[in-house]
Symmetry: C2
Subunit: 351 residues, 2 copies
Amino acid sequence: MDKPNFAGATCPTPHRPKETVLLGHGSGGTLSRELVEQVFLPELGEAAPRTLDDAAIIETTGRQRLALSTDSHVVEPLFFPGGDIGHLAVCGTVNDLAMVGAKPLALTCGFILEEGLPFATLRQVLASMRAAAQEAGVQIVAGDTKVVQRGSADKMFINASGLGVVNQGVQISGANARPGDVIIVSGTLGDHGITVLAAREGLGFDTDLISDAAPLNHLVQAMLAAGEIHVLRDPTRGGLATSLVEISEQSQVTLLIEEDKLPVKPAVRAACEMLGFDPLFIANEGKLVAFVPPEDAEAVLATMRQTKYGKNAAIIGRVLDAGKAEVRLQTAIGGTRLLDMLPGELLPRIC
Amino acid sequence: MDKPNFAGATCPTPHRPKETVLLGHGSGGTLSRELVEQVFLPELGEAAPRTLDDAAIIETTGRQRLALSTDSHVVEPLFFPGGDIGHLAVCGTVNDLAMVGAKPLALTCGFILEEGLPFATLRQVLASMRAAAQEAGVQIVAGDTKVVQRGSADKMFINASGLGVVNQGVQISGANARPGDVIIVSGTLGDHGITVLAAREGLGFDTDLISDAAPLNHLVQAMLAAGEIHVLRDPTRGGLATSLVEISEQSQVTLLIEEDKLPVKPAVRAACEMLGFDPLFIANEGKLVAFVPPEDAEAVLATMRQTKYGKNAAIIGRVLDAGKAEVRLQTAIGGTRLLDMLPGELLPRIC
């Protein structure tokens, strides 16, 4: 029996809005294909080799240690000085891989779009993803797009998942901190968090700050060539304090951090003082903290300072003893206080 | 200088609601850890080996062909007869890997949660993910959770990305259909789509249907052992018709499908007739379509019928000629019509 032409019945959209995401763009059918062919593929360009199969194939040889990571991004607003949600998604996942010493091999991206999102917004985000992927030297090999009704999501969320390969001999983990290790940060703290905060409407303060979001994989490879690295972590949500507490717990060591060694831009310091925040708890998206054996610390630091994203690298402390998980902050006025993780929420949707 | 204790200032929640997702659970700090330790890890159990590093490491040896895929899930309602968003997320990504012939090695999961989501809901979803992962024989090796303000997302979205390995000699692609290939579906069409539709409030019809969502990797491995496979695809969004059109275009071949061979449950057929839908366009989440050379078709079909998820497998058509991308449906009353992809949106948020 012939069925009614449901297509005509359910999609009577001869005047459908052009250049806007519709529910049909998530249907898996013709409109989904149009979105991929007319928006995703042109904007991603050489960063996204075309495939129509359900999964991408990557060939590797030899004994491999593969790294796998995932990160969803819900940052609000989508665009902020120095970046946007697309740039952030690529950098975030590249950095998660880099923090175990992996070179990124491939990314996948899953988009959740709100009905009504302008194509222009999507195009701008995709162009940023392309640029970030090219800078990191990684391709986006598989993707997925869902569309939800207006009001069921806030404009656009992006998941980026990544596959990387770790060279033999590289053993980086939050559990590898050792007494004597020198603690290095790659640059100034809190730029991303304060930038996003300032970009939100109605918060009533202006800065010249831009987000630090950046792919750190080339920096990490340069560091690995310069010396041994025990621990790497990118202090995103929860800031440097949270990362340090995690590492102290994973390795069961006591850390000593010197407050006056922490690199903080004057604008970030001023904003924090005004708002009652501490830069140690503010998110970064293009910074890392490294634990390096003392004999390699100067070589690693010197190498970092020659790179684009490590030129403000600084030694901020050291690992004291094993046995007790504790992070001590030696304050600028000579006191000592213990650092804890970010206890609640400081700035929702910072990434 | 000592900073004010911002934690106390911004998170004055001595009476914070228990057993409910708060913005702070996405902070990256203490509450995030509590959520992981008290909800995620216990519910996922052995399906999620614990790691606190930014990426999981997987060791492989020898020459490898790796498969990578991603899928975000936004299904509404979260729970429906036969499954839920968690089960669907694991099955969807396992199946994407299986459709290129890959055995799943590892999954990552990214959660976007709406503030106020009850822990009980999250726990139920995680328990389903654990069961699906165990059935598929895959582990969830890395995860990420973001929380957005109430109203900025609809309860819960899940991205699952997957890594698999494809044995040497297996060459499955939508571009590999050849004239003479026999087209097999693994079971009845449309069960998932009609089940989710019926589960939505206010639609005013009841069925005994349950979703067909299932991990198909074991079925695919059994099929590969039984004969050569040219093409595999799981006809999810857009239904079987959309998958067939895609394959005909990728391979530049003409397909002939016989309508009276299509396995469709009476309840699905009845719902489709009532609603003016065609089962060929309704989503499935535990079905596949395979293109098999004629000499292997009977052996592959017989093997499929011995498995849990292939017992209703049926031959539904064949590849006629190369050169013209076209899908012809020979209707039950003897006519022929051309199938096209799903043009617009039939059922938003079906997966």
